[in-house]
Symmetry: C2
Subunit: 459 residues, 2 copies
């Protein structure tokens, strides 16, 4: 039963399991204690820190272990913002950061700080120019992920780091998605990562803060981990995290080459086998194992459910699969279709047969979901009016777009359709649909309590 959501969580790497076993026996004591059990734990902790620092590319005394990647991000951001408070309260992030970064930015705003969100292109990539124009004299911190967690696009970290260094602004890199594949290049200042993304155990994050970065840990004082991560450490998991990072790195180049071929196949085949699909993210500058596509006229939750029934575990950025009823902020920032969204992230060891099996099943599953939703036929139809208004209030994604696709055939070329919808996702998906189908999106106007979106038929 293939599991294709390794970007969410990866099964434990065999080396992580072995290291965890061994250090449950050797590393349960408090490494701060002076007796033999404590000294033994201290040796394990020191060795794990050295191994992790080597993989990150920093000094051991620059790196601490945290309870998760999210904690590493939160502590790293809070520490730099406080340490550089005198510089100012301005912070720069990309629009497609992980929610842990964006939520920390919201807390900063709520506390009176300001946040600039650097836009990305349609591939999901931020640019050095974007950061350059966002930096101000009062910028305390800039943040950029090494690669995007939803679409796999690799960010220009080294270039952005140069721009930040020139401005004297520290760059925090969220390396959660890429650290297992290799070190982050460029002159970053702070780095955060999460062990369970590379096959290490859950419960371990890494936070590296380069010497020279002004850093003031926030929250109650605690003498552990240089005062940067409170609470009794999870030493067995830390040891397993460090050991498995070293192990996955040893296999990374070969595995990346292999998975890159499989992902390229998915990118090509999905576009060919599934009608009305948009494969998103950079086809070249991307993570080796991850691909995302969106299917028109498909309800994401039903799609995931049917794929699960067929034996494939994948993820989605569609609004209809999240509890918040909002579409992925990443897809939104990219301006690409969010409905029927599927993220496939292949774990190490995924075989071509597994990928082929998925590609065999997918077109039928998508067709099945579309059939139950009553997706409009492609046959031409006689126009019924020059312009038409569709009341889609109360309908949820993907229904407003399905209504639009049905209505557009009933106006002549040059005619318009206005969709009135109170589904927030329509704002993203209606323009994306126009771009895919060659129609012109004319814009939106308020129609309280909903919004009216107007489209001109072009063909």
């Amino acid at each position: 039963m293939p599991y294709f959501d390794t970007a969410s969580a990866a099964p434990l790497h065999p080396v992580a399991r072995q290291a965890l076993q061994a250090s449950l026996d050797e590393g349960w004591a408090d490494p701060a204690r002076l007796y033999r059990e404590g000294r033994r734990a201290r040796l394990l902790l020191d060795a794990a820190r050295e191994a992790a620092a080597e993989a990150v590319g920093c000094r051991p005394d620059e790196l601490v272990f945290t309870p998760s990647g999210t904690h590493a991000v939160h502590s790293g951001i809070a520490g730099v913002l406080a340490g550089r408070r005198r510089v100012g309260g301005h912070m720069v992030v990309s629009a497609v950061e992980h929610s842990s970064v964006l939520h920390a930015a919201e807390v900063h705003e709520a506390g009176g700080g300001t946040v600039a969100r650097v836009p990305v292109d349609r591939m999901g990539a931020a640019s050095a120019a974007g950061y350059a124009s966002a930096l101000t004299a009062s910028t305390a911190l800039a943040c950029l992920q090494s690669a995007n967690h939803e679409v796999g696009t690799v960010q220009p970290v080294a270039e952005v780091a140069e721009v930040c260094a020139a401005a004297g602004v520290p760059l925090l890199v969220d390396a959660a998605q890429s650290l297992g594949w290799g070190p982050v290049e460029g002159r970053w200042s702070v780095l955060a990562a999460s062990a369970h993304k590379w096959g290490g155990p859950p419960g371990v994050g890494l936070l590296a803060v380069r010497k020279g970065v002004r850093f003031a840990p926030q929250g109650p004082a605690d003498e552990r981990e240089s005062g940067r991560s409170p609470g009794f450490g999870n030493l067995p998991a830390v040891v397993a995290a460090a050991a498995s990072l070293r192990a996955v790195r040893a296999e990374a180049d070969a595995e990346a080459a292999r998975l890159r071929v499989l992902v390229d196949r998915i990118r090509r085949r999905v576009a060919r086998l599934v009608p009305d699909v948009e494969v998103v993210g950079d086809p070249v500058r991307r993570l080796p194992h991850l691909v995302t596509f969106s299917c028109l006229y498909v309800d994401g939750e039903t799609l995931l459910h049917e794929l699960d029934r067929a034996g494939y575990s994948v993820s989605s950025g569609s609004s209809c699969t999240s509890s918040t009823l909002t579409a992925s902020h990443v897809l939104k920032a990219m301006g690409v279709l969010s409905e029927g969204n599927v993220r496939v992230s292949l774990p190490a060891g995924t075989t071509a047969a597994e990928v082929n099996g998925f590609l065999e099943v997918l077109p039928g599953v998508v067709a099945g979901v579309r059939a139950t939703l009553g997706v409009p036929e492609e046959e031409p139809q006689a126009p019924v009016a020059e312009s038409l208004e569709v009341d889609a209030v109360g309908l949820r994604c993907p229904q407003p777009v399905i209504e639009l696709a049905r209505a557009i055939r009933t106006v002549p070329v040059g005619g318009t359709v206005t969709v009135v919808s109170d589904d927030e996702v329509a704002r993203l998906d209606i323009p994306a649909w126009c771009a895919m189908r060659g129609h012109t999106y004319l814009g939106e106007s308020p129609r309280p309590p909903a919004t009216a979106y107007t489209i001109r038929r072009n063909l």
Copy 2:
């Protein structure tokens, strides 16, 4: 090699190890996902929450898992203080809380809040009357540990909870040291605990917040664990924590009865076998497995080192064994001797033979340390002056007290000795020495950059 520091960390319980193994296979996926691996993880998480809630004595939806007991305390305190901000910024803690509570209180003070520290008696116990007089109309939160982590004294939680309930103030109980032995009695509002204290794995804390308590989680938003504990959860460890809590509870009464006998033996024998020793903490209302004593004229670090060489791992609240050079705040609040302090906390399964072995070794180890420090002979000596001043500036614990013991014999009964010391611990240990030896402590006066402590010889 007996390990007698289970109050710091306990080796993994066999049930915890089994559960951890099993859930590494079954529980690595994200429980928020809808596919089968996610659903399986969700089932494990739900079952662990139910088991833990049953052991705590709360509803499953009142309990969340955190990365450590320290995180549970920090989040619990911050959440209640923010949730009840309108009531006021006053907080009440006992003087002998764990550092995680006291450091959170310091952060609250730094942010403009006020904190009352309820004193304890010489046994280390706080009182309901003490809390009653500390509560004000603007008290947002009161905190009290279930039992003290350094001396084992059990606190009157149920009585204090009644006082708090009558005043409408929520009581947060730090149950880290006692939860493995049984549920916390009384009408507490918030409870925090730590799995590695009961033989669960590190990396798991519990935070229970009763329905009806106004609670506003602080820090960046995160949808996991009801928004009260951010970051990807450590599910295998959570499962192991819940399973081992159930297991240790099943053995708790029998094991408590057994260890209580062993600890009683240590309390009696240490007082008899070691001269100039003070056994501290309540002899009856105490944790079953923990005992602390302080040895006059002994350097705590050397003592721990020698006990370690003899095969016994114990802990100490002496200043000379901590990196901060301050004595334990608990011993300070109790007003008991801190020098030569030893905490013995027996893990489950400790045998009488192991305890006897320790008691055989201890007197010789203490005598050996005293011999190297040049502890004064007991022989009487002719007085050399009516009053005497001893310059102990630059000397560290236990040397100022040793100098005092040497000098007191050179003044007549009724004469005085003044010790000038810049060791902060002298303020605690000189009065404690007077109480132990039957002399009168007359008080201190500033002697910049040191302090002068004056003692009258009584016998």
